[in-house]
């Protein structure tokens, strides 16, 4: 594979030799790549290529059989999920996973969980410091809702929002964890063209804040538009890492991703 420069110092996330086997299936086969600080990396590949497995290993939901994950200069390979969130990794889900019985604001507040210091006893004693922290958390949550354009939905129940808004609310909730890296799992799935464009803008706004993003996306138009680099996975292997333009001109990628038909059409 091409495009990896190991000497690069500006990598926020560096994955080396990641391997994961589920029974007889190699979901991840010796995958290595790096994500530059402040960039957007797209993840494409046919169904079953191992995109979600890769996300699950970076977030800590599943443990790799082999390989290492370096984040922000230190190994996180054996850290549990909540410690990785504290370290600065947040995610959204392929199917919306908002807390249905809570308001949008409360959903975002749950996202701040690891950043709030008061614990069980803090809640009981409720010192002025705890009260102040809670007020500041609300303020910050509202600011995040404004940033994502959801302020008018703050007090609505999450399950009452249209799908597009729910997807945005998930991103808002991920932003509340104060992340360095956000993983978006198919953020445009189920969105119409207008919503999809708004999503593209939001991704650029998040990037402008200095936050690094990784996204799994089937909407090639969106991926081409927002991604700095694209990583192509096929049957658990990373077959290419390059700019969107290079990817579209890469015959190997086109074969794997779009199949032989693409050639006929061309």
């Amino acid at each position: 594979m091409h495009g990896i420069r190991k000497e690069h110092e500006n990598l926020l996330l560096q994955v080396t030799g990641l391997t994961k086997q589920f029974g007889g299936v190699r979901a991840q086969d010796n995958v290595s790549f790096g994500v530059e600080q402040g960039s957007v990396l797209g993840l494409i590949g046919p169904n079953g290529a191992g995109k979600t497995t890769l996300f699950n290993m970076i977030t800590g939901v599943c443990v790799p059989d082999k390989g290492e994950i370096l984040f922000d200069g230190r190994s996180i390979t054996s850290l549990p999920v909540h410690k990785r969130v504290t370290a600065g990794i947040a995610r959204t889900f392929q199917n919306v996973e908002l807390f249905p019985g809570m308001t949008v604001l409360e959903n975002v507040l749950v996202g701040m969980h690891v950043r709030l210091k008061s614990g069980f006893w803090g809640a009981v004693i409720r010192s002025p410091r705890v009260v102040k922290e809670e007020q500041q958390a609300r303020k910050k949550a509202l600011a995040i809702l404004e940033f994502t354009g959801l302020l008018s939905y703050a007090d609505r129940l999450a399950c009452d929002l249209p799908v597009g808004r729910q997807k945005t609310a998930e991103i808002a909730r991920a932003l509340a964890t104060d992340p360095k890296l956000i993983l978006l799992d198919e953020p445009a799935a189920g969105l119409n063209r207008i919503e999809s464009m708004a999503l593209g803008e939001l991704i650029c706004k998040i990037k402008a804040r200095g936050i690094t993003l990784m996204l799994v996306e089937h909407d090639m138009g969106l991926a081409m538009e927002v991604c700095d680099k694209i990583l192509v996975l096929d049957r658990g292997e990373a077959i290419a890492l390059a700019t969107p333009q290079q990817i579209t001109n890469d015959q190997k990628v086109m074969d794997a991703y779009l199949g032989e038909e693409f050639q006929c059409l061309n």
Binding site: T59, V61, P80, V81, H82, V85, T86, A90, R91, F93, E97, L98, F99, P100, G101, M102, E106, L109, V110, G111, M112, H113, V114, L116, S118, G119, F120, G122, A123, V124, R126, V130, E134, A137, R173, A174, T177
Partner: protein
């Protein structure tokens, strides 16, 4: 003043006035039991209603509280208040040891695990005769005193129990209205999403499990010094089931629900005495009826019906 504060004051007022007005010892006794049961339901509601984790073995913590104070204050003769502290620590410690592996289970499996735990503890109460008095029970639990105050049945004990209930409601409210409460609701809603946001689900469940065990132990302590005689069967499988029933009947995830559940489950057997042998059948039928008509529990069920009625009127 906001609505919630009005409700709280009204509630406290009703309890205080009840204690003054009611002179019938039997009634006071029943209402004291309601208070003790409310404590049990409150604790279990935190675990079941809010965190969404089923426990079918909570009678064990109730029993641990009762037997710990019975042994420490009755046999060893130390101050019951010191015994209370020990009882709480013991219950919390046991909850930690049991909860750590068990709370990794979920749904029916957690129910089975806690069920087994409850049974083991029940057998221990029955078989450790030299400490617990065995199947025939523990006699000789001292009455509670505080300075010149003697809490013997009647009014004084009624107020003591309800003061503790108010304290417990206050505690639960504070915990629920915080980062911890939000995280609990998040785990209940979608555990994987909560975990992905950095909620340490296992340790939070364990914390709530220990908290509810502590409330159970306090209830056991109050029960022991009230009835002054305890036997293993008060803390067996049926006690655990009764606690779950209180939470479900009253309404999950509601502090008032715990109270309503405790009222219903304490009063029903008293009211049904007339049915003699058929008492349990009628009891079961009523519970089934409530669950069919108001599956979300009495509190929410009645409130919804009232709202609908008001709309129509």
């Amino acid at each position: 003043m906001d609505k919630e504060r009005v409700h709280n004051l009204l509630f406290v007022g009703v309890v205080v006035v009840t204690g003054v007005v009611v002179e019938n010892t039997y009634l006071l006794q029943v209402m004291t039991f309601i208070g003790i049961n409310t404590l049990l339901a409150l604790g279990l509601n935190m675990l079941m209603g809010y965190a969404g984790q089923v426990s079918l073995g909570h009678g064990a913590f109730y029993g641990i509280g009762a037997y710990a104070t019975a042994y420490l204050s009755g046999t060893l003769g130390i101050s019951p208040w010191l015994a209370l502290v020990c009882a709480i620590f013991l219950a919390v410690g046991v909850a930690f040891v049991v909860g750590r592996p068990t709370l990794k289970l979920s749904g029916y499996y957690l129910g089975m695990g806690t069920l087994g735990f409850g049974m083991i503890v029940h057998i221990l109460f029955r078989e450790a005769g030299s400490i617990t008095g065995g199947a025939s029970g523990f006699v000789g639990i001292p009455m509670l005193t505080l300075g010149p105050l003697l809490f013997e049945g009647g009014q004084s004990y009624f107020y003591l129990v309800w003061a503790v209930v108010f304290g417990a409601i206050f505690l639960c409210r504070r915990i629920l209205d915080s980062k911890t409460g939000r995280a609990l609701a998040a785990i209940h809603g979608r555990e994987n999403a909560a975990v992905a946001l950095g909620v340490d689900a296992h340790s939070l469940k364990l914390t709530v499990f220990m908290f509810s065990a502590a409330l159970g132990a306090v209830a056991g302590f109050l029960y022991a010094h009230f009835v002054l005689f305890i036997s293993p069967d008060s803390f067996g499988f049926m006690a655990s089931v009764k606690m779950v029933t209180m939470v479900v009947i009253g309404g999950m995830a509601s502090v008032w629900g715990a109270l309503i559940g405790a009222v219903v489950i304490t009063l029903l057997p008293e009211v049904l005495h007339g049915f003699a042998d058929h008492e349990m059948i009628v009891f079961g039928l009523i519970l089934m009826g409530v669950m069919i008509v108001m599956p979300q529990g009495l509190t929410k069920g009645v409130m919804e019906r009232y709202a609908r009625y008001k709309k129509r009127a």
